[in-house]
Amino acid sequence: MDTLNQQQIDSIEQGPLGRTTNRDDKPARTHTGRLKEFFERKFSNSAVLFGVVPIGTSLGRWVSKIIALPQLRKLATGEVPWAPLRKPVSESTVVLLSTGGVHLRSDRPFNLNGDPTFRMIPKDALQADLTISHQAYDKTDALRDINLVFPIERLRELEAECVIGRLAEEHYGFGLMGSAKRLMPSIKEVARRIRKSGVDLALLVPA
């Protein structure tokens, strides 16, 4: 596969919304926006609870903790599973999984009140082919740029640049599901498919 040359890489990084990089080696710090950052963290990007009640970011985090933590304390015990990467990343096959409710427009939407199923997304899916059905986070930005919750375009670029060896043919999306137990059959099926397809590295992105 041809590697992108530096000019092509630079044009990718400028992006459709204008120049987004600086050319210094270190991140440049902008001047104070602490108050603005505080409000954006606490109140904007609201999720909608039960489809009706707008909740700020802080309450959203609290809700996610009270749902997840008791289940994890029961389920995530014992030895941590560990599979060291056996090849360089540049030779590895990568699969992408998202819990942001991403799926093909042509596919059945996720049930917004909770859905234990998964959707398959092909590696060449374009932004226009994809949509999101999820109501527990503000998906406005993700609908503008799907890479925020499902970075398939970025990974296709990295495959073209030979940063990763290969993108798997099939990738997976999950919707909102508060019960880990109900999700388990889908998790096991996706794990089986990933293992069968010879993937080396799975990248998991949350909602």
Partner: protein
Amino acid sequence: MALALVKEVAVAANAPRFLYLHWPFGHALGEPGNLAQQRTVLHDMLSMAALAPRPGLVIELPYRWRRESYPSVRDWATPSEAVVSAVSL
């Protein structure tokens, strides 16, 4: 290799590799159209995948929401500074 937006959940999950970002839900890779930011996060993920010395690590990335500029990732083969410094602690 997983991203997390709620640190306590990442720690409790007891998973092999987690990167935690103090960013809003729906923005695990950053801001719409900010390719350099998204590529930076992917570089951190790939670096941790290659470099994590043991399971169960949750590395907190230092990027402040909407208050950073991100340089281009020039050398993908070299692990990211954020991951190297966290792993060597």
